[in-house]
Each structure stands twice: as C-alpha cells, then as structure tokens.
Symmetry: C2
Subunit: 413 residues, 2 copies
C-alpha cells in the first residue's frame, strides 16, 4: 500500500510542479470551502477520535487533538492565506550571462514529494497539505494515530479542492492506517518516491527519524531558547521581554526556557526578574545566586540547563558576562532562538554574530520565532537544521532550484 501511495505521489508531483498559480490557488479556495461545508462531519469524526483516545491522553495532547468550529474556520482561513502568498515556483533567483554568450538562470522548482510525519494535531493536515500544494509539491501525510478519523475528514476536503481545480487528488495523500510500520516504510523503504521527510513532533519521533531515515530530513528539534539579560539592559525592557518570552504561550517552540543574567547586572536585575516570573505563576529553577533571591526558587540541576519545558517553568542562571552567556548557549542550547537584552550595541552585535542559532534577537521576545511574525507567511515549523532550510519553513523553503542554460551552440574548449 505504501509503495502504491509513493508511486501515485510521484506521478502527481509531475503535474503539480507544472501547475500555474491560479490552479493551485483555486484548489486551496475550494478546499477551504469544503472544510466549512463539511464542518459537522469533521467535528463528528473528531468526536470519535477523542472518545477512542481519551484514556491515554495528557491534557495538552487532548487539547491538540480537539477541533471545534473556530479551529475548523482557522484551518479554512489558513488555506486562503496560503492562496494569497506569492507563488514561489518559477521565480528567477539569479540570471547572468557568460563571456561565451551562454545565459544561465537559477529558477525555483518544487522539491517533488514531501513526507510529513506529525503528532495527533488534525490542523496540521490542512496546513501542511496547503503549504505543499502551494509550493508545487506532492505530499504524503502521516498524522498521529489518535487523529486518524479527523485527518480523514479533513483530507477528504483537500482532495475535493484538488479535484475542483482539475489537479490530481493524489497530490495530497493521507496514509489511511494507524499502523506504525507505515512510518518506517516512509522513512526507509520509499527512497525513490519520497524526496524529503519533515517530522513534526516530540523527541521520540525526531530520534526515530534520525535513526531510520534513508531520505533527507528537514528537522525540527526542540527549542531550548535563552534570554540573556546583559549588564547594560534596560531593566523595564528586560522584564517585559522575559515575561513575554516565557509566559505569553509556554507550549510553543519559541518560548524561552532559560534566563541568563549577567553577574555585573544581577544585583539590580536578578531579584525583580525572578519575582516577576514567580508572581506570574512561573516555577523558577535557579542556581545558587538565584536561590538567594526568593524562597520560592527551586534549586536547578544540570538537567535544567538542557530542558525544553514547554510549560510555566524557567531555569535561571547568573553568568559572568557576555562571553559566558554565549558559551552557555553554545553548550546547552538547541540552535533554535536566542535573545540578548542590552543597550550596548557592541555587546548586541557580538551576541548576534557569535550565537549559532537559527534566530538570534536583540531586544525582542523569542516568541517572535514564527514564520507569520517574520512576514514569511504560514510555515510548517522552525528548522533547527543548518542544511537546506534554517528557521521558519514556509513555501519558499519547500522548494529547490535548477539551472537553465540557454546557448547558441556553445561547446567547451
């Protein structure tokens, strides 16, 4: 079955890669309309998923699995927003002429077939399907088994969108089984049909993908994001940024997990920051300096410097200045998103240059780590890889390029 899916995807990719923008956008709009028209059926399917899965789910998992009218409307609007994005395909990235008269262009083309493996979040079915469609790629979706019924109902709408626009329904396929062997097959046994795997999920999935994948992967590791409050930080700005970076939403990958405070600024800055976090309902796990500030601070262990809590918990450490902060982030970070708060322009530039993360911010919250906030449109996630795509993975990052060479009979000497 999986190889049949792969073969169909490869065939659909040939069609989709040549499809004009209007046709792809028509499919996206028709799929959005189908989602709205089918919302009762989608909610019913979701109800079946939730009842079957309920006993085994944490509250966070249950929330991710749950659909309601507003979330279905958000999916539909998401597809319409993707339709409004520029078509990345066919764009000329570079164009030059050689001394022998040959004209060379580098033009954007789809990657081909993308495999997306994600947890039980039904909205990813629509988002990822839409992004791949817009970028001219065929996609094989493999969502978490708890969301299979919901995914099927959403996927049926995407198929109807494709058909309404005269595009092959197999451009967006859903693996129609909860069998976990299908994941292994996608990762390792379909190298001729799958060009890249995009895993979206927790550590266990990422580790499985790294272990088993025989095709390239655009990885999304955890976000162990830091805010470093420099000696020259504006105290009010530091508090505003730290509170937002940690507490605005604790469950997203751009949420801050560790606060580093410059020792030179700690006498003035540390206590207000720590008390602010505690008062906001955040658990603070601090080093010895931090523990002295407030009795509510829990002692941090070594594991806390490497933790992605995705919760109202923060690790706090006093460091010996900028270099020590950069060292800490290099040793414990996940190359996702890190921030310095300072009024010292030289310190900021040094931090921006030296911290080797996908996104490095000066005087702005780590919660801006998001394709939409960057003005890049919808994204499939934030890549912590350094190859191919780093940072937000939107429609442009789901493309490749090729060289077109136009000559008049040139041969090489």
């Amino acid at each position: 079955m999986m190889r049949e899916i792969g073969r169909a995807a490869r065939g659909a990719a040939l069609v989709l890669g040549q499809a004009p923008r209007a046709q792809k956008d028509q499919a996206l709009h028709a799929a959005a309309a189908a989602l709205r028209a089918d919302r009762a059926a989608i909610l019913a399917a979701n109800e079946r998923d939730r009842q079957a899965a309920a006993p085994g789910l944490t509250a966070a998992m249950a929330d991710r699995l749950r659909l309601d009218e507003a979330r279905i409307e958000a999916m539909a609007r998401g597809l319409e927003e993707i339709a409004a994005l520029e078509d990345p395909i066919g764009g000329v990235l570079a164009d030059w002429r050689r001394p022998n008269g040959m004209r060379i262009q580098r033009v954007r083309v789809p990657i081909g077939v993308i495999g997306i493996i994600y947890e039980s979040r039904p909205n990813v079915t629509a988002d990822a399907g839409g992004l791949c469609l817009k970028s001219g790629n065929a996609v094989i979706l493999r969502g978490g088994s708890e969301s299979l019924e919901s995914n099927r109902a959403i996927h049926a709408c995407l198929e109807r969108g494709l058909e309404a626009a005269g595009l092959p329904a197999s451009a967006i396929q859903l693996v129609p089984t909860a069998d976990r062997a299908a994941v292994g097959c996608l990762l390792a046994d379909m190298t001729e049909y799958v060009d890249v795997i995009v895993p979206r999920g927790g550590k266990a999935l990422i580790e499985r993908v790294q272990r088993e994948a025989r095709v390239p992967v655009i990885g999304h590791l955890e976000g162990i994001c830091h805010v470093y409050v420099d000696r020259a930080a504006d105290p009010a700005m530091a508090r505003r940024i730290v509170l937002n970076a940690k507490m605005r939403r604790t469950g997203i990958c751009g949420a801050a997990e560790t606060l580093l405070v410059d020792r030179a600024g700690a006498p003035a800055q540390l206590a207000p920051l720590v008390r602010m976090l505690l008062d906001a309902g955040c658990e603070v796990r601090g080093d010895a300096d931090c523990q002295r500030v407030d009795a509510r601070v829990v002692p941090a262990t070594e594991a806390d410097w490497n933790a992605e809590y995705l919760d109202a918990i923060i690790a706090v450490r006093v460091v010996d200045g900028l270099e020590a902060a950069i060292q800490h982030i290099g040793a414990h970070g996940s190359q996702h998103t890190d921030c310095i708060v300072t009024e010292d322009a030289a310190a900021a530039e040094r931090f921006l240059a030296r911290v080797d993360s996908a996104i490095v911010l000066h005087n702005a919250s780590t919660q801006f780590a998001d394709g939409g906030e960057f003005g890049m449109g919808a994204e499939i996630g934030i890549s912590t890889d350094k190859l191919h795509a780093r940072g937000p993975v939107g429609v442009e990052q789901l493309t490749s390029y090729k060289y077109l060479v136009r000559g008049t009979g040139q041969t090489r000497d």
Copy 2:
C-alpha cells in the same frame, strides 16, 4: 581518535566562522606557497603511494592517483583562485522591517564542520580543504587509502598555511589512517561533531553513505547525461554539441552518456551523428533504428539506458519526439545535466521546464556542467540532490544562514 578529531574540528569551526576574509585568504596563499616549496616531498610521497598501490589499480585510478609538477602547480593555483573569490560569509541575503519596527536580516554563516569522503585523488585534499576554509567551515578529510601518503604531504602544507595566518591547524584535518572503520565512524558516530558529509566517489561509496549516514549528506550521484537532438535541430550544431558533450573528456560527470534522436529528424540526422561518433573512436550502442545506420553499432541492452560509462561509449536511441525524450530522461537519467538541441524555441522551453535535472541546457554542451564554467568558481562537485545544494557546490553552497532580529523592546501580542 575519530572523536578527538571531531572535537577539535568543532572548536576550530568556532574560530573559522568568525575569521575575517583577509585572514582566510592569507592562509590560502600561504598554503599555496607551501605546496610549491614542498613539491619534492609531495612527489616522493606520491611515488610511495603509487608503488604500493600499483598492482590493484586500473589505468584510470592510477591516473587519478598520480601527481606531477604540473598537478601540484594546479593545486597551488587552485588555492589562489579560491582566495580571489568573494567571501560568502556575512553576506546579507535579505533585509526587511516588520510593521512593529523589528528589523530582520538573513545572513550567510558557515555550516560548521564538513566531512569529505573521497577516492584516491590527492588534488581533492587541497581543493576541498581550500573551499571549506574559504567558506568558514572546519573540515575533516578522508581520502582513499591508496593516496594516504600524498594526502599527508599536501595536508601538511594546508596546516602550515593555517598556522601562518594564525588560524587553528585543526580547521583542516586529515584522517591519518587507511582504516575503513574511520569512514563508518564519520558517517554515523560523530553526529555532534559533523554537520554534513560530502561524498565524492563511485557508486559503492555513495551507496554506503546513503545506507550508513546519520548526518545530512550533500550527494553527488552519477551523471547519466543526455543530449536530445530534436527534429528542429540545426544539423551542424547538433554534431558539434554531441561530439563535444561525449568526447571532449569522457571521464567527467557532465559527459553525455546517451544520445536521443527525434524520430522525425532521424532520417537526416541519425546517420551523420552515429558515423561521426564512430569515426571519433566512440563505441556506439544503439537501438534497432541506430543499428541499421552502421555495421559498427553494437546492440544496446536495457542496461545501456541506465549506464554512466565515463568512457568513449554512448547509448543511442531514436525517440518519438520531445515528450518521449522527456519521458526517457525522467525514467533513466540521474537528474544531473541534460541538453536539447533545437531551433524550436517552444520545444526548448518545454524541455527546460519539464526535465527535472540540476542543469538543463538548450543548444550548449553538457560538458559545461562545472562550477568554473558557470562563473561560480571552484567547486567540490555537482550535487544531484534537491535539498540544500543542487548543481555546482562551491563556496556559497557550503554555507547556511541565520536570522538576525534587531528590536527596541518588542514583545508579541
């Protein structure tokens, strides 16, 4: 030992990634000078390699292993040419401002640590070392075991260049053993130290890399390059391009391996093309139509359509027009470099759009598949991957990017 090499490379990468252009170029010039000064020692080391390896080598392998004064001078000049290239690091790829006032830049950064696995071609030691140095990456070189002594002698010159410029010698390391286990270690056991593997070699190496690698790979598959002579081809141009594409140098990856001739043009074009190739000393393996043209044509088997000869052999097939040519290339090509010869602009544009190869040419020889010929400078090879780098892999393709965000205290709503 391998992990020690990895650790040292990671440390060196931090320094090299911040090194200014002048310092990197100074190291390249000093290494070139060292190669010239040490040429007697390099030739002696190469002589030892060749004597030890001689019994097991084919003529082509022996030629690749052999160094002489001219080849050493070419390596030295190659390093100087790399020094003359623009520094890719720090370049601003995009720069925009958000409505909330945040300024976002996408800037080029090194990848980090690159592992290069190559066959017994000592010149790759200098070329690959120089390209990685210029692009700010640390590199771990693992050349073919037959060339170990030559590689050591060349590598010593690269180290002297680094030291002369005050850069860490461990920025360019050579695996100092012929033990094949070192390759497995580089591929799978050093994921925290190696960011990407670039394999340069034959099918056996590529297959091993695909099977074992646990880190991203920039792949270089074979070049099964096609020339399609369309019905509307200019006959003289077709002959010139076919002869050059096949016979200029038969051992490079951009050499044509298959000639497709449009059936509508075959009565006029096929015989002159086939006889020209035969007369030039090329073995022609043809389909039934081709065999009728000349008694010297050998019958082609199915395997010939998938063969990378890298030799004076060509497969020739008559196809039913443009669509059939595109289909054949899709089924049998390696997405490397393919060419159409035609005076029909619409046919050319269709071929350029539909053939999914790294390089697609109209009326120009496939032998132009080369970074230098593209004006991109020295390259480490032609990538047939669609992720990260496609086509020539030069200093720009050996980089990643990161986002720098400069704010004034922005927080997310």
